[in-house]
Every structure is written in structure tokens, then in C-alpha cells.
């Protein structure tokens, strides 16, 4: 006999017994759903074989390696006192995570309308599941680059972990920023379907302005004034400052991107709530 999930006795007022019991029950459901979505996404994305998952790592590894090698061969030296490969990897890897998460957020709802007919599955669950999976993959890719750099071009791993505690903090902040961006992107795509197309055009030029090939510090003040409004450039500067032992930027502001992320998150939540409350959304019959 199935249990009654919604029937919880007790005081239903805010912060009453029943309120807490219901909150706990819905958080447990959310955890179960996100867990199930992560497994489902990893199966659909990488297929059933181990080669499938390996390919999911190899694909971005090749793409990023080509960029790193191309820029290294151009003989350009980075703006920081570290090997160019370290400079590029610490910028490109987190940036690609963010960019792909925003793209996946944009399609999270439209690609999963069937999934949303299960009453316990919410759009936010799909976005969180996707971003968590991407984050785990990105983490593995970053480690593979560190190991690869050590064995191929003899760069000690310490070049990537200048301040381990700070790096952890920067990584968590980056995750928060990315999750908020992806959620905002998913909400935006639900009210403006054209956002998916807009993003596919926007996402290409945006990476020239995001501080992957330069640091905010090394820019001339006139250019910096504009790039300074780009929150992802601050995030990358922050990440690099924590990762590269010989680099500590003086010009980034950690609170600016976090504030932007919080605004993204709030707008995303409001749109999500309104669409849920009015039921004004495409459905699969």
C-alpha cells in the first residue's frame, strides 16, 4: 500500500510542526528528483558505455587543448608570471563550464516537457541536475589538464593550486554564479523562446570579452572601464588569482559577480514562480 505523501498531521502555520515536516518532505523529494535527473542526463549525454563517458571528457579536452596549443605556438607570452598554458587553462576551463551551463539552462525546459509531466519534477530540478553534472565533469577535466601539463610540458601541479583554500572558495563562488546564470537563462527561455537563439549568437563573441586571453589588470584603463561591467571577467580573474601562485590581481571585485548572480537567481525564481502559479506554459498532452 502506498503511503500518503501530502498528509502530514500537526500545525500548518509558518514554522509550525507540520510546516517543518512538509518542508523536509519536499526537500527529500527534490533531492531524489535531482539525483535521478543527474543519472538520466549522464546516460542520455554519454550513452551507456564507459567509452561514452570518456568521450564526454575527451571532446572538451581536445577542443581546449587545441586552443592552448595554438596560442602557445603563436609564441605569445601570458600577462602573468606563469607558463602560458597555466594562464589559459585556468581561464578557459571555468569559462567553458559557465558558457555550456547557460546554454543547457536555456534548453532545460523545452527539451524536457515530457519529464515535467511528473508532478514532483520542477524546472529548477532539471537546471540544478544539469549544472551539477557539468561541474563534476569540469572538475575532472581540470585535473586531467593539471596532470597532462605535468607529464607533457613539465609544469608542476603547484602552478594550478597556489592557494588551495582560496581556490576552493573561488570554485564554489564560480559554481554559484554558474547555477544562478543557468537558472536565469532557463526562466528567460520559458517566457522568450527566442533567447535560445540569441544566446547561441551571443555566446561566441562573449568569450573575447571575458578575460580569458588577458587579465583585467593588464588592460589599459580605457578598455578596463567597459570590461569591468562583465561579471564573468571578475569571476575568472578571481579564480586565476587563487589558482596561480605568482598572480594576485588587485582590480577584481568578488562581490560584484556574486551580487549579479543573486539578482539573476531572484529574477529566475520570480519568473519560475509566476509560470508555476498561473500554469501558463506549454505542456505535453
Amino acid at each position: 500500500m502506498a503511503e500518503n505523501p501530502n498528509h502530514i498531521p500537526g500545525d500548518r502555520r509558518l514554522f509550525g510542526d507540520r510546516w517543518f515536516a512538509e518542508l523536509r518532505a519536499s526537500l527529500e523529494t527534490m533531492y531524489r528528483v535531482i539525483h535521478a535527473i543527474i543519472i538520466r542526463e549522464s546516460r542520455t549525454r554519454y550513452g551507456n558505455s564507459n567509452i561514452g563517458y570518456a568521450w564526454a571528457l575527451i571532446d572538451p579536452l581536445i577542443e581546449l587543448s587545441v586552443l592552448v596549443i595554438a596560442f602557445s605556438l603563436l609564441g605569445r607570452t601570458g600577462p602573468v608570471a606563469a607558463p602560458l598554458s597555466v594562464f589559459l587553462i585556468t581561464g578557459i576551463v571555468p569559462f567553458f563550464f559557465w558558457r555550456s551551463a547557460v546554454g543547457r539552462g536555456a534548453s532545460a525546459v523545452s527539451a524536457n516537457l515530457g519529464l515535467l509531466t511528473y508532478p514532483q519534477v520542477m524546472p529548477a530540478d532539471i537546471v540544478i541536475g544539469r549544472v551539477v553534472l557539468d561541474a563534476a565533469t569540469t572538475f575532472v577535466i581540470f585535473l586531467l589538464f593539471v596532470i597532462g601539463s605535468f607529464f607533457i610540458i613539465d609544469v608542476p601541479a603547484g602552478m594550478f593550486f597556489g592557494d588551495p583554500g582560496g581556490l576552493l572558495l573561488a570554485g564554489l563562488a564560480f559554481f554559484y554564479f554558474t547555477l544562478a546564470s543557468a537558472f536565469f537563462s532557463s526562466s528567460l527561455a520559458r517566457i522568450l523562446p527566442i533567447w535560445q537563439n540569441v544566446w547561441s549568437y551571443m555566446s561566441r563573441p562573449i568569450w573575447l570579452l571575458s578575460g580569458i586571453f588577458f587579465t583585467l589588470e593588464s588592460l589599459p584603463p580605457a578598455a578596463r572601464e567597459y570590461i569591468y561591467y562583465n561579471p564573468i571577467a571578475h569571476m575568472i580573474e578571481w579564480f586565476r588569482s587563487a589558482a596561480i601562485p605568482t598572480f594576485e590581481s588587485q582590480v577584481y571585485d568578488p562581490f560584484y559577480p556574486l551580487a549579479v548572480a543573486t539578482v539573476f537567481l531572484l529574477i529566475g525564481l520570480v519568473i519560475d514562480r509566476i509560470l508555476i502559479m498561473t500554469g501558463d506554459e506549454e505542456i505535453v498532452s
Binding site: 528528483v33 515530457g114 509531466t117 500554469g279 505542456i283
Partner: protein, 219 residues
Amino acid sequence: MTIELQNITKVYRSRRSGRKTVLNDINAVFEKGYSYGILGVNGAGKSTLLRIICGAERPTFGAVRKDVTISWRLGFSSSFNSSLTGMENLRFVCRIYNRDIEEVSDFVTDFAEIGNAIHEPVRNYSSGMRARLAFGLSMAIRFQVYIIDESLSVGDFKFQEKCQAEFEKRRAESDILLTSHMPNQIKQYCDRGGVVHRGELTMFESVDEAVDYYEQVTG
């Protein structure tokens, strides 16, 4: 109280045809221990009502209160991911409903009769196989209320008989909520009836009364 509809209104907006009110301020209670049949002509809003009750869709205004587990519409398979195998979809459903994967897969492989195809991607399934998988799965999850939309009939005649037998066995623990435009179907399965007409739902204590009213408003 089992399922309570409170002031349910559903408005669809379309760029071409403007606003359309499909359900208008519906209030109803579906009590535990009774099976209900909802009558209505095509396009009256029966399916919309069912989607709202089973949570696949949300109302524009109003709320659904419930203290039972409600199935998805019987045989509904659009929620399956077609690039995943039947078994992977089954595992997903077990995870979100917190059911034992082994128990459920034993039941489904026995009941759905799709054999080794359960390890094939769902995109290779015929529509009948998809519906069988969805049906077997909803039986294995053991919901307290089963939602049956006439537009989703499951499998061939033999399989339908099997489904009926399974519902007979479940009478004590599960109720049925069924829609149809044919009074005979409702008479066969249900204890109580209701009629959806012009966006309004009228509930009756007996199926016969509901059928009379249905014939009156449509005939």
C-alpha cells in the same frame, strides 16, 4: 477527503485564437473508496481536468488538494526519454517515486510482456509497447488513484482484459478516475459520475443520474 478541487479555472492563451476558458471555477470532491467516471463530449475539457488532477499541468486559478498518490494518465508515455532504454526509464521513475527498482522491474517485465525489448531504447518501441511499459510501471508503483483518459487506450484486446483483471484485484486499495464520452464504459467501472459541459463540472451521487444529465445536455 481524497482529492479536492478548489475553484479550478483553466485559461489557454493562443496568439491566433486569443483566450479560451476551458474550465470555469470547478469545485468537486472525489472521495476515497469510490471510482468516478466523468462524461463529456469531445473538447469539453475532460482531458484538461485529468491533467490538472494528476499534476501534469497546473490550473490558471485554484488548487488541487489531495492526500493520496495519483498515477499519471494510464498508458501515457510521452514522459519517457526515447534515447534511454525501457529499463533506464523504469529506474528513473522508481527513483523519483522512491520505489524499490528490483521489485518494480520484476513486476513490469512480467506484466508488460515486452520481453528483452526492455533493454532497447524506447525510440525503437511501437506505440503499443510504450503504452504497455507505461501501464505496467504505473501498476508496479501502486498508486491509490488511477487516472484513465479514454484517448489513451492500452494495447490489444488481450492486454486490455489483463488490465481489467488487474484493476479488479486492486479494488480494495485503489480507486479509478475515468473519463469517457460513452456512458456504457462509465456504467461498467464506476460508482459515481460527473459531467463536464461548457467548462462546468456537475457531480452526481450515482452514475445513472450523471448519464441522464449527460444525455439531457448533449441530446
